[in-house]
Symmetry: C2
Subunit: 352 residues, 2 copies
């Protein structure tokens, strides 16, 4: 538990004076006050998190955590479980959605095997930090032990620390795990107190009967395991997932290391929710990439207090939304760094 | 009138069979069906417009049209009129918002002087095609003669033709013209039949008294000039602007030359609205970059039938929203071109 405790202790609120200084600089740029809207918010927050009014944005990394889910045997997904390792290999070959979008925005993708039920040969781009070969079926007992959950959180924390040492300027989260919208819906159901039916959607595209079954599975899992909503690690261990735990750790680690972290969609937000429940100031380091089609996502974002950047009706995960949002955040930072001031450009200022 | 007539005659509907073929390719990619949401729409439409299922996206150009407005003497803007040429010079030096964002997404900015009340020396990046030194005050008579309006439309058409000859793959629109939200609100007021107060906002940031005055100015201009809503060139000439006319022409020219055109915010959309009123199939070539803070914008987009890509509460114009949206459209096209299929990646397909 030591690393987790140390990490939580290291998380500080973002410096409000720096937020003001960054905004003052933006206000001198050749544009009407506030007219770049949320780009100004991104710039201000990024600068304050980094403690630098002209922050570098060149090194951007997306960590795509992969894990399997015992609950898949209950028929909750449209895809067979074998797709988790198959997609990991697709990521490593550069053919998946997240690879295409990360290349487009100049980000690197690193795949983290934190819990896939398959033995991968080591290869570049793959970080093997397997805690278990998938979770257990949470309709029969807890998905993980508390120790397993903490071990997976620690993987994320360690990756954030390594990112800081490498000089990574911005981190994105992503995930791959057949069945992982089910634990994500279970997590938001527990924290929000809302019935499973209100926070459960079709995942990768199941039909009506399968959706009814998925809701039943979540209800059963929550009823059986009685997760304690005041103990986020208990929620994570009983109805969560290994990749969700890894993301929670990455988000905590980014906050502790002052790295802006861009959370992708529904499953990543479940991980971020665990992190913000563990420490309230974590939310100040989070950028929510986009609004997912998954109906539980909106509740999670409200819980975290994050406003999504994009709404392109995406529901792929992997880090695809994070990649696109990272580029928009970088655009905001470039406004702060590169735009001319009224003085520099010899442009007259606003007179009302 | 010849070039305009020829251009209108050349505009064809986008090939529906190609839209289907592009979607079929997207459906074989390693992702749940439809899970990349609007990125798939962008890819499908871009491919069909270009007539190429693996279209190039490398050459992207934003045309920022600049013009002055006689109506500024009525006190409708928070900035003095001199800011129009000052900002043109800022564009040429690369210090404005559109320069920063265009560089970020790999697009080129070309500034078109179609009606600035200032004589620029020729320099790279500046296209001098001045039709008049600004419009006239539309509260005293028409803003332009019909001939002036058509001449400015022709500038845009010619630029689109040159873009096609150069191999430009995607065009963005932008504008600079102190006072130009006033003619834009007048245009949407005429086409929608809504009172000026419902479609008029604060532009670059005027106060309450100035907003009331701006609404009065628009009402007076519309009452005096009686623009014929069934004659888009009459609306453009009587209450429009030279940069709005240039954008209308660019949009028409892009449609005629099968170049996807990304319209920026409120003023650009006023230009696009004139174009779609001149030819109904034009809308199939348009991508709406973002939802502007200007309240009349939503009505315009509904009129055109375009769904905005971004909503970042921006209201700067220049082509800033277009720059960001062009990168998202390009991301969609790369999904179509670069993602692996299920077969290529050896990934099992969906079973429901």
């Amino acid at each position: 538990m030591n690393l987790l405790t140390e990490t939580l202790a290291a998380i500080q609120p973002v410096d409000a004076a720096l937020l003001d200084k960054a905004q003052a600089r933006l206000d001198n740029k050749t544009k009407p006050l506030g007219s770049l809207g949320r780009l100004e918010e991104f710039a201000r927050r990024f600068a304050a998190i980094r403690g630098d009014l002209a922050p570098d944005t060149s090194r951007k990394v997306i960590y795509t955590f992969a894990g399997d889910h015992g609950v898949v045997e209950e028929g909750v997904s449209a895809f067979p479980k074998e797709v988790t390792p198959q997609m990991v290999l697709n990521f490593l070959r550069g053919g998946a959605g997240v690879n295409v979008l990360a290349r487009h925005v100049g980000a690197e993708v690193r795949v983290v095997d934190v819990g896939v039920d398959f033995e991968f040969a080591p290869e570049p781009g793959l970080i093997i930090r397997k805690v278990a070969r998938g979770t257990r079926n949470f309709t029969k007992g807890p998905a993980m032990t508390r120790e397993e959950a903490v071990a997976a959180v620690r993987v994320g924390i360690e990756l954030a620390r390594e990112a800081r040492e490498e000089g990574v300027a911005m981190v994105g989260t992503g995930e791959m795990g057949i069945g992982n919208t089910t634990p994500s819906s279970a997590i938001i159901s527990v924290f929000s107190g809302k019935p499973a039916a209100e926070v459960t959607h079709r995942g990768t595209g199941i039909n009506d009967a399968a959706l009814a079954n998925k809701i039943r599975v979540i209800e059963e899992g929550v009823m059986l395991n009685e997760p304690d909503r005041h103990d986020p690690l208990d929620v994570l261990a009983t109805v969560g997932g290994l990749e969700i735990a890894g993301i929670a750790g990455l988000v905590l680690g980014c906050a502790a290391n002052r790295i802006p972290v861009v959370i992708d969609g529904f499953i990543s937000t479940a991980g971020a929710l665990i992190a913000t429940e563990l420490h309230p100031h974590v939310r100040e380091y989070i950028f929510a990439a986009h609004e997912s089609v998954e109906i539980g996502h909106r509740f999670m974002l409200e819980h975290i207090g994050a406003e999504p950047i994009l709404d392109l009706r995406m529901r792929l995960g992997e880090g695809t939304g994070a990649a696109l949002a990272m580029s928009l955040i970088e655009a905001g930072v470039k406004v702060l760094k590169e735009m001319a001031t009224f003085d520099e450009a010899g442009v007259a200022e606003q007179n009302m």
